[in-house]
Symmetry: C2
Amino acid sequence: MDTITLKGPYLIFLGRETRQAFAKTGLGLVEWRRDLCLGQLRLPGGIADLGVPDMTLGEAVKRGVGSLVIGTAAIGGKVPDEWVAVLLEAAGLGLDIVAGLHSSLSAVEGLPEAAEESGARLVNVRIPPVHLPVGSGKKRSGKRVLMVGTDCAVGKKYTALQLEKDMKAQGLNATFRASGQTGIMIAGSGIPIDAVVSDFVVGAAELLSPANAEDHWDVIEGQGGIFHPAYAPVSLGLLLGSQPDAFVVCHDAGRETISGWEHMPVPEISQVIDRTVALGSLTNPAIECVGISVNTAHLSDDERAAYLDDLSRRHGLPCVDPLKNGTGSIIARLTTLNEKQSASA
Amino acid sequence: MDTITLKGPYLIFLGRETRQAFAKTGLGLVEWRRDLCLGQLRLPGGIADLGVPDMTLGEAVKRGVGSLVIGTAAIGGKVPDEWVAVLLEAAGLGLDIVAGLHSSLSAVEGLPEAAEESGARLVNVRIPPVHLPVGSGKKRSGKRVLMVGTDCAVGKKYTALQLEKDMKAQGLNATFRASGQTGIMIAGSGIPIDAVVSDFVVGAAELLSPANAEDHWDVIEGQGGIFHPAYAPVSLGLLLGSQPDAFVVCHDAGRETISGWEHMPVPEISQVIDRTVALGSLTNPAIECVGISVNTAHLSDDERAAYLDDLSRRHGLPCVDPLKNGTGSIIARLTTLNEKQSASA
C-alpha cells in the first residue's frame, strides 16, 4: 500500500494552448517546483509560456526526464487529437505520461501498448491507489499541520505550499503532502482523497502522512470544508486520518455563499475552528488552530490590513494573506506549540 | 441515476450450508420479507433451513421468481465450485443472480455469457450504482428518520426494520431505506453507502430517500458511527444527505470499546446525540433525537428494565430494546414531532 508516486524530473506538455490561464497546472508546477521542471513542450501555435526552456522529447530523454506531465486543461477533459502523436512518442521513449484528465489515457489508441512495451506508466492523478487500508486511529510519530477551509477553492493548497516553503527557509523539517490532483503533481506523490471510497478515506489520509521524525512537520493540503453540504465527509476523513496537531483555517474574504451551492452560507471562521477541534480531537486531542489564511485579492492594501487586524484580534490568532504577508507569524505559533507540547511531555 | 433495484420475488440459495448461523442473510430475508421469499434451494448435504419450501430452479421460473439470491456466506468470499452448475442454470433460465460476495460473480466461468444470453443480471449489492450525483443540500418533501450508532453492528438495520414494521402496523406511511448489502436484499433496493466514493456519498444518500408525500416517513438504515475512527465520514455523508427530521441512537449495552478498534472507547449516548444534532443541522436545522434503541441481549429481564429506565430518565427519551419492547414509544415521539412541526408551519 502506497501513495501515487511520480517519476521526476518533468517535461511539461502544453499542447497548442494559447491561453495562459488554462496552463494553470503547468504554471503551478513551475512556481512551486522549478527545479523539477526541466522544460516545456509546445505544439506549433501554442503560445502559452511557462518561462522554462522549450525542449523536445529526444532532449528530455537525454536529460533524464522521468515524466511528460500534461500541464494544461483539455477542453471537455478529452485528449485532443493533436496530442496523440506526442503522447505515443513519449510513451515509446519510456517516459511516464502524467495527467489529471477526466478521460482515461488508456483510451488513446495505441498508448497502452506503447507504454507497456517501453515500461512507461500512464498515470491519472485523479485515480487513488488500490488496496487502501481502513483507518487505524492509532497515533503516529512526527507533527502535522492541516489546512481546513471555509469552502472549496479558498487557497488551501497555496497556503500549504507557502507554509512549507517558509518553514524550509527557516531551516525547519517540513514536507508538503498533497491530497488533490494538482498538489500531487507538485509534490510528486500523494492521494486524491476525494476519489477514495468513503470506507477507506481515513485510512488513505493516514497513509498520506506516515510516521516520521519527531521534529518533522507534514504540511497537509486540505479538501472541501467541514460545513460543505456535499464534501464535508471528504474533509472529515482527511481530518481524522491526518491527526493534525495544528490546523490553519483558509478563507476567501469575498466569499459569502458556498461556491456552486449558493443557497448555503459560508460558515463563520469561529464555527470552523470549533467544529474542527471538536471533530479532530477524536484522533488527536491536542489539536489546535494556529492561524487563519485569507485570500484578500479583492481588497485594497488598506482594507486588507484592517481586515486581517480585526480578524486577528477577534480570534487571537495570526491572520495573513500568504501571498502578501508570507506565513511567518503562523510558523511562530507552530513553534510555540512545539515547545508547549515538549514542555508538557 | 438510480439506486440498485432488485427483481423479486426471490429464490434463496444456500448451497451446501450446514450451519444455520452462516445462513444469516437468508434468515434475515425470511424474517423481514417473508412474502418476497418463495422458496429455498439447497444442495445435497445442505441442512441449514430457512423454514420456507424447498424449490427447484424450474419451479421457481414457473412461479415467477425474479432473482436467485445468495443467502449464505461463502468462505473467503469466493464462489464455491459446487455452486457453479446452479448459478449457470439459473442465469440460463433468466433469473438475476444477487450476491454480496467479495469476489465477483463475473469471474465465474461462463456465467457472464449465460446471463447475457438470457437477459439476466449479475448483481453485486456491494457495488454502488454508477454516475451518482454530488449532494445538493436542497430540502426534499417528506419526512425522514435515520438510525445512528454508537458503533458498527449495534442493531441499526434491525431497529429500522422493526420501526418500519411497527409504523406500518399503525397505518403510517413508512418505507425502510437500505444503505448496506443485507438491507438492500431485504428492501429490494438501496445503495451500499460505504462503497461510494467520498465525493458522492452525500449525493448517494440524497438519492436513497427521494422526495415523497408530506406524510411519508423514510426509515433509513444507518452506517458506522459519527465517533468511529475509520467510518465516521460514511456516517456524516449519510447524515447530511438523509437530511433527517428525526434520528434514533442505536447502542449495544455490552459494548465498551469500538469493535475492532479496542484502543478507542464507545462514545457516550449524549455525545452522539449532541454531535448528530450539530452536524445534521447543516442540512436540516429541525433535526431531533426521538429515541434510543439498545441491544440488551446480555442483560437479564430485570437488568434490562432498570437499564432502559435509567437511560430514559437521563435523556428524556423513549428507550427500548426493539426485540423485547417494539418501537411503539419511539413512534409516539415521531408522531408528536410531526404535529409540532405542522403546528409551527
